[in-house]
Amino acid sequence: MTILQIALLVILAIIIGQIPRGRQLGMLAISTFAIFWLQPSEPFVTLLFWLPVATLAITLLCWALTSSPESRVWGKNWSAAAILVSITLLMDLNRVFKFEQIYTSRTPILELALAVVFGLAVITMLIIRWQKGSHFFQAAALAAIILIFVIIKTPGLIHMVSGYLVNLRGADPADKTTPLTWLGYSYIAFRLLHTIRDKQSGRLPPLTIAEYFDYAIFFPSFTAGPIDRVERFVKELKAPLPLANDDWVDSGTRLLVGMFKKFVVADLLAFISLSNVLVTQVKSAGWMWVFLYAYAFQIYFDFSGYTDIAIGMGRLMGIRLPENFNAPYLKSNLTQFWNSWHMSLTQWFRTYYFNPITRAMRSAKRPLPVWVIIFITQISTFVLIGLWHGVTAGFAIWGLWHGVGLFVQNRWSEFIRTRVPVWAQTQTSQKVLGALGVFLTFNYVALGWLFFNLADPAIAWLAMKKLFGVL
C-alpha cells in the first residue's frame, strides 16, 4: 500500500468509527472496494477485476458452507448481499465511468459480470439448501483453498498458470514475465480455513454475511494480517469499543509510528540490506554482517510497521486487532522469539496443526518417546510455516532452520534444568546469561533470514561462508 492509499483508508476508518448505525455494512462496502482498488496489475488486465471477484466468491461460498440456520435468514443478509453485488457491478461499470485514477476501465462487459454474480448467487443458495452434503463440501473447501494456496505460492506453477492465461487471451508475450499476484489470498485463506475447521468442530458462532465478510476481508488487515480469530473479532464488531480521547491518541500514535517504521526506517534500510547482487559482489565479512543485520531490521520494521497501521486503523472503528509482534529481537531464546514474531500466524499453526498432532501423539496407546514427538512436531510445524511464505527450497530451509533450533533449545533446556550450577543462579549471572541469550537468539534468527531472503539456497550458503570468512 502507498502512503496515499493508507491516508484515504484512515479517513474512511474515521468516518465509519463515527457513524452511529450501519458500521458493519460501511466496513463491508469499504473492504469490498479496497479488494478491487488495491489489487496490483496482472499479466492481463481483466484479472484486476476477476481476482477480487474470486476472493469475494470464495468468501461467499465459505460463508454458505459454515452458516447456521439462524444466521442465514434473508432478512439478516439482504443488505450485505446488495452491497457486495452493487460494488462489484460498480467496479465493472468503470468501463463506462472511466475513473482511471481510481480503478482500471478495462473491465469485462457488464453481461459477463452479471452472469457471474447470478451464477454465484445460485450456487450459494444451492449450498444453503443442500445441507446433507455440507460435511463433504466443507472438506472439499478445505482441500480447494489449500490447493489454490499451493498453486499461487509455487513459483513454477504460478508462472505456468500466468503463461496459460496470457496465451488464452493472446496478450503481449512480454507480459509473461509477470506472474500473477492474488492480493491478500494468504491471509484470507487462513481466516477461511479457521472458520471451516471451527464449523467442523462445532465451535463457530452463527455469522451473517456482513459479519463473515467483515472478518475475512477487513480492509486494515487484509493485505498483511494480523490473522484474528472470528469469535473475538465479531464480539467487537457487534459492540465496538468506544473511542475515548486516549484511544484517539493511541490510534494516531500507532498509525504514525507504523508509517515511520515502514516508509522511513524499513525503506532506508532497504538500501543496504542483503540481496543477491550484494552477496555475490562483496568480499568483506564485516560488510556482509552489516547487510545481514540491515535486512533483519528491515523486515522487522516493514512488517511490524504494517501491523501498527492495521491495528491503528482497526481501533478507529472500535476493533482491537491482535498484536503480531512483541519486541522479538530482545528475547533470550528461540521459543520466546516465536512467541513474539508474527504471533497471529504461529498461533494459527499451533491451533490447527501443532496442538492437534501433539495431542494425538501424546494420547496414542503406545506413545513415541518425548524427544521423537518434539522433533517431528517442531520440525514439521516450522517447515509448514516456512512454506506458507512460498513453496520454495529457501523457505523450506528457513523453516527447517527454526524447527531444528527450537528442538535443540528444547533438549538443552531439558538437560540443563536440573543441572544449573550455583554460580549461574545469582542475579548478576542471570542478567549476563540473559543478555548472552538475546545475542545468540538474534544472530541465529538473522542467519536464518539468509535462506528466507535470498531465493537461491546456493547463494544463501555462499553468504553464510562469507559471513564466517570461509571464503
Binding site: P322, T335, Q336, T351, F354, N355, R362, I373, R417
Partner: protein
C-alpha cells in the same frame, strides 16, 4: 497453596514440566509468555487438566491470551466445572 486446583497445577508443572519437584510457583507468575512452559508442554498441561478436572481445553485456547498464570488457569477450570 490453599486452593486444591492451584496446588495440583503447581505440583504438576513443577514436577512434570520443570522437573524441579517442590519448586514454588506464585499464582501470578507468567507461565507461557515467559517461555517457562513451551508449546509442547502446554499440550501436556492441557491433557493433564482434562484428565484431572474433567474439563475441556480447546486447541485454540492454548495460549497466553486465554491463561498466562496459575490464577487464570484455575479460574478457567472453575468456570467450566460449574457449567
Amino acid at each position: 497453596m490453599d486452593d486444591p486446583i492451584m496446588a495440583a497445577l503447581e505440583e504438576y508443572i513443577s514436577t512434570k514440566i520443570l522437573k524441579q519437584p517442590g519448586r514454588k510457583i506464585s499464582p501470578d507468575e507468567t507461565l507461557i509468555s515467559s517461555g517457562m512452559i513451551d508449546s509442547f508442554s502446554l499440550v501436556d498441561l492441557a491433557l493433564f487438566v482434562e484428565d484431572t478436572f474433567n474439563v475441556r481445553i480447546d486447541d485454540a485456547e492454548l495460549n497466553a491470551q486465554t491463561f498466562n498464570n496459575l490464577n487464570e488457569l484455575a479460574a478457567l477450570i472453575e468456570s467450566r466445572r460449574k457449567k
